[in-house]
């Protein structure tokens, strides 16, 4: 009640309620968001606006930058696709099968989410390097992972796993088993039931998980730089290029590339919310 005068608009924009605290909590939330997010982020646009068109296009479309986009998008797409396939298998096993230690495996899926990215990065580099536990075996097969673009994909797979599993898992759990029984009693084989009944039902969630993993991978930095090798034109991701430009005091160049990345992830975000709306229908 005391805070009502602080926010006289509150009665116009909200439905009436007896619960107190709307004005106070909304004002604080907005203030915090403005201070931490909106003002600093808008600086990105203002800084870019000081560039002429030639400067801007030179910054965001030089051959080295273009190569980094290609690598970042390509590796993120490959990793997200890999995660979509194996994430679905993992979900299926976790939801449908009996397995000793299933709860532990389920908990482990969240590890990439709780683990600091830099530490994941050095661990993956150690595992997949030529002397590493897995890398040494792959070396015998002639496959080099660490310090190549393949290493980048491995790091992006690691950070993307929980996104697919945690999006698909609840949908698979809620799926009504009766429709599967109905399909089977009408003579469908298991494969037909899966492709015609189960898969279409979980597809929107799978697509959301894929897009979330893809968006996360695009901006990922810590886990990638240790395993990537970071060779210009070959294994240099876009976020690293932003850091390099900053270290060279090329603030305008760094900002312009950052803006391109930001717009790409906002577009993805918009896509994700559209998938979610579509799947709710």
């Amino acid at each position: 009640m005391i805070v009502a005068p602080m926010f006289p608009l509150s009665e116009k924009i909200k439905k009436p309620s007896v619960i107190p605290g709307f004005g106070l909590t909304l004002s604080f939330t907005l203030f915090y968001l403005l201070l931490i997010v909106v003002v600093p982020l808008s600086g990105l646009f203002f800084k870019t606006a000081t560039l002429s068109w030639q400067q801007f296009s030179a910054a965001v479309a030089s051959p080295r930058v273009l190569a980094s986009y290609k690598l970042s998008f390509g590796a993120s797409f490959a990793a997200a696709t890999f995660n979509a396939v194996f994430g679905l298998i993992l979900c299926w096993v976790l939801v449908r099968y009996k397995l000793p230690g299933k709860k532990i495996i389920d908990a482990m899926v969240d590890l990439p989410f709780a683990m600091p990215t830099a530490i994941a990065g050095i661990a993956l580099a150690a595992v997949y390097s030529e002397q590493g536990f897995i890398g040494s075996h792959l070396e015998k097969l002639g496959i080099k992972v660490a310090f190549t673009p393949l290493g980048i994909i491995v790091a992006l797979i690691f950070i993307g796993i929980p996104f697919v599993v945690r999006t698909v898992e609840p949908v698979l759990m809620d799926l009504d088993r009766e429709i599967e029984e109905a399909a089977a009693s009408l003579g469908a084989t298991r494969l037909q039931t899966f492709t015609k009944i189960i898969f279409p039902n979980i597809f929107p969630a799978l697509l959301t998980g894929f897009a979330l993993a893809f968006a996360k991978a695009l901006g990922e930095y810590g886990s990638v730089i240790f395993i990537a090798g970071n060779l210009p034109m070959v294994s240099e991701i876009t976020p690293l290029l932003i850091v390099i430009k900053l270290e060279q005091y090329d603030y305008a160049g760094a900002t312009a590339i950052a803006l391109v990345m930001l717009l790409a992830s906002f577009t993805l975000l918009l896509g994700i919310s559209m998938i979610e709306k579509w799947s709710r229908k």
Binding site: I13, K14, K15, S17, V18, I19, P20, G21, F22, T25, F28, L33, V37, P40, L41, G43, K47, F86, I89, L90, Y97, K103, I105, D106, A107, M108, V109, D110, L111, A114, M115, P116, T117, A118, I119, I122, A123, F133, I134, I157, R166, T167, P170, A188, R190, T193, A215, L218, G219, Y221, G222, L240, I242, V243, L246, T255, A258, M261, L262, S265
Partner: protein, 286 residues
């Protein structure tokens, strides 16, 4: 005969070989991409025994990094908890226009690359900006100093508590709070005695996750820190320095602290989930 056939082909589940194949693939996936890197951290940390492990942790720069990391988390996490509760209260307990926009703004840091999260503060506080020049004149050091580490960490971690609480509080509805208010409880009393007991497990998980992320943040902090050894290096940054110096045992030893923290976070999360399934909301990862 009938029973035999049923065993041979059950249209409600996959054939045994498919089950076995899928299970093997799932286990291989988790093993190669999660378990092996996890074990490697401890394997490398103890590669030269307990002596060098503890020597790496007791080194002054490592101790400074640990202290700084705790300092940053102690400031950033409580602020984000207050924000999270406040945002969840106005979003979950009231209906108002512009709510979806507010929700989108809250989730925004999840879709911003950590590097860009750091960059925006370099632009704001760096000496090239007007505000940065003003700070320089008055001898206030924000960028390449502790304040910027705190601010960048707040940015990266602030959605965690809010995103955990909002769906949980939305699901619980407003009836209990309405009843409390009508019976004469003040807003704060209503929150403390009605809402808080309902959300405590969700809140605990949100805080833990926020803390793990705050202590482990690398990209954003790396951009604003300036890497002044022993002064502006948090644990992940210290690990990076050691690793780049090819001091692998020390790097993995220091890294193991945060790995243990991540494992504790997961154990508590799973514990809460198994025990109080209904009291926390699986909000997924975004």
């Amino acid at each position: 005969m009938l029973r035999f056939r049923k065993k041979l082909y059950n249209p409600l589940t996959e054939p045994l070989w498919v089950k076995a194949l899928l299970t093997m693939l799932a286990l291989a996936f988790v093993g190669l991409f999660i378990v092996t890197p996890l074990c490697t951290i401890f394997f490398e940390a103890f590669a030269k025994g307990w002596g060098s492990y503890f020597a790496a942790l007791k080194e002054p720069d490592a101790l400074a990094a640990i202290k700084l990391t705790i300092l940053v988390a102690v400031i950033a996490v409580p602020l984000n908890v207050i924000f999270g509760i406040s945002a969840a209260w106005c979003i979950a307990k009231f209906e108002f226009t512009g709510k979806n926009l507010l929700l989108a703004l809250i989730s925004l840091p999840f879709s911003v690359s950590p590097v860009i999260s750091g960059l925006i503060y370099v632009l704001l506080f760096g000496i090239h900006s007007r505000f940065g020049a003003f700070l320089q004149e008055h001898d206030i050091q924000i960028i390449f100093a502790v304040p910027s580490l705190v601010i960048a960490t707040i940015f990266v971690t602030f959605p965690f508590v809010a995103r955990e609480l909002i769906p949980l509080m939305q699901e619980q509805g407003t009836e209990e709070e309405e009843a409390a208010t009508l019976l004469g409880a003040s807003g704060f009393e209503t929150f403390r005695r009605v809402t808080l007991p309902n959300i405590k497990w969700g809140l605990l998980y949100g805080v833990l996750l926020c803390n793990a992320r705050a202590m482990g943040e690398f990209g954003a902090v790396s951009v604003v820190s300036g890497h002044i050894r022993g002064k502006t290096t948090t644990i992940p940054l210290h690990v990076e320095i050691l690793y780049n110096e090819y001091n692998f045992v020390a790097a993995f030893s220091v890294a193991s602290i945060l790995t243990v923290l991540a494992l504790i976070t997961l154990v508590v999360k799973s514990g809460i989930e198994w025990k109080y399934k209904s009291e926390i909301k699986e909000v997924g990862v975004h």
